[in-house]
């Protein structure tokens, strides 16, 4: 097994937007190299348009790099073997409003290759872990934003992935929901899972992560370890502001 859950090597991603005559190109990320050690919680910080979501999608196999190599547990993120080990949570996930959480999770569990008793057990465990059990009888249309985010996390946990890729997992949540999700992520990491999360909330990243990558205009500006920001006056926020200015 690779000791790196994820590795980026000289990765570039250029987007093409078709226009009436020709197309325009713009760079999502450029010359990007980093590793995410297995078993660690790594955060990704950056301003809007810095390339955070591009990185998340490259790991999830939803985008293809224009240049360079992305590896997930030593394999291509497009392959089934890598995807089977990844749990992906996009920002503000959508679920059909008419369904109950158990039905939505059963569907995604089947897509992850689960069936029969294993599927039932996985759905039950994911609902229990994310605190959705008391709401099992409700429809998604009755869910608050926090509960939807829990459901998003539950679908990412169904197949017990080794790596969780979470795009803005606490975006728009109330303080209690943030506290609960932080506790959940800390528990998952204690179980040995690698977590890679992006966020606009420096304080959240500071509390959860062992290492933080700071992106500026598509490039990796800095990699900061917990010991560094704990020793720095002003903490991670000061380091971040200095990097992005």
């Amino acid at each position: 097994m690779s000791q790196h859950a994820v590795s980026f090597s000289a990765v570039e991603k250029t987007y093409r937007r078709p226009r009436l005559l020709g197309a325009v190109y713009f760079t999502g990320v450029k010359d990007l190299s980093f590793e995410i050690p297995a078993g660690e919680v790594t955060g990704l910080l950056g301003l809007n348009g810095a390339g955070k979501t591009t990185i998340m999608k490259l790991i999830g196999g939803l985008l293809f790099p224009t240049a360079g190599k992305v590896k997930v547990f030593g394999q291509s993120p497009q392959g089934g073997a890598a995807k089977a080990r990844v749990g992906f949570l996009p920002e503000l996930p959508y679920f059909p409003p008419q369904v109950k959480p158990g039905d939505a999770l059963s569907y995604y569990g089947r897509l992850s290759g689960l069936s029969g008793a294993d599927l039932d057990a996985a759905v039950e465990s994911a609902m229990q872990r994310t605190g959705l059990e008391p709401h099992a009888g409700k429809r998604v249309s009755e869910f608050s934003k926090g509960m939807l985010q829990r459901l998003g996390l539950a679908q990412a946990l169904l197949h017990s992935p080794d790596l969780l890729v979470l795009d803005e997992p606490v975006s728009g949540l109330d303080p209690l929901a943030i506290h609960d999700i932080r506790g959940l992520l800390a528990g998952l990491n204690a179980d040995g899972r690698t977590i890679f999360l992006s966020s606009h909330s420096i304080s959240e990243v500071e509390k959860l992560c062992a290492r933080v990558l700071i992106m500026v205009r598509g490039r990796l500006a800095r990699t900061v370890k917990r010991a560094e920001w704990e020793a720095a006056p002003g903490g991670l926020e000061a380091i971040f502001v200095e990097a992005v200015r």
Binding site: G60, L62, L92, Y107
Partner: protein, 254 residues
């Protein structure tokens, strides 16, 4: 292979259930009921040809209603799943894009089949209410409509993967549907004209399916109106559109 079938089945069943839960579907059912009821009124005006008018009018309306739903659904489903990011939750899993597409297509066809079955039942009840039995070749007429829907739905899925909006997919598929009912006339025109026009018309015949092949309802009274050519043609067009769509989606980023 078993895993691929299982994944395709999961996507198909989910797609079918989403359609059935959708209020849009309910609205169409209400519309279909009202439209078929209107056909009874038209039938009364047909005097001694009432049974024939009722049958033809009802079958045509059912096909158009199912077509409208199938086209709206096929042209918007992939765009909607990309916009709502639902597709991220699917493609970040070990789900081959070919299986996902096959599941979506199968789900859409299951929905069309259900719509035709429900509307057919309502139509037959109305016929019975007017004192008529089941028209000969009725099941074949419905089967022909379903084959047509399979052809146009798979084509709409293919178009939706390169068109810029659901509306453009609807327009292109609608033109395809209409042109498919005039292949015989197109062939006649190709034979009776010359030069570039004839060449263009001959090319059109190759890229447009002959949907008249599936019009069993035009041959009411025939005990087996759909020949093997209809099934072979439908299978070939569905397979062709599906494979072209798989080729497009395999290189698509989300």
């Amino acid at each position: 292979m078993k895993k691929i079938f299982s994944l395709t089945g999961a996507v198909a069943f989910n797609s079918f259930m989403e359609s059935v839960r959708n209020r849009f579907f309910t609205l169409f059912a209400v519309f279909a009921f009202a439209a078929i009821y209107a056909s009874v009124l038209a039938g009364v005006m047909a005097v001694d040809q009432e049974a024939r008018v009722l049958t033809d009018f009802g079958l045509a309306l059912m096909e158009l209603v199912a077509l409208a739903y199938a086209l709206f659904s096929a042209s918007s489903v992939l765009l909607r799943e990309a916009e709502t990011k639902t597709i991220y939750l699917v493609f970040s899993r070990p789900v081959p894009r070919s299986a996902y597409l096959a599941g979506k297509l199968a789900g859409s066809l299951m929905t069309s089949a259900l719509m035709l079955a429900v509307m057919g039942l309502m139509h037959l009840l109305l016929l019975k209410f007017r004192g008529f039995g089941v028209p000969p070749g009725y099941a074949w007429a419905l089967s022909g409509s379903l084959l047509k829907l399979a052809v146009i739905t798979s084509f709409a899925f293919f178009v939706s993967l390169f068109s810029t909006s659901a509306v453009s997919t609807l327009v292109i598929s609608g033109v395809f549907w209409t042109a498919g009912h005039f292949v015989t006339e197109t062939r006649f025109l190709a034979e009776s004209s010359g030069g570039a026009v004839a060449a263009a018309l001959k090319a059109a015949i190759w890229i447009i399916p002959n949907l008249q092949l599936f019009n069993a309802r035009d041959a009411a009274g025939a005990s087996c109106a759909l020949g093997p050519a209809a099934f072979f043609s439908a299978a070939a067009w569905v397979a062709g559109s599906y494979l072209a769509a798989v080729w497009l989606i395999s290189g698509k980023e989300f």
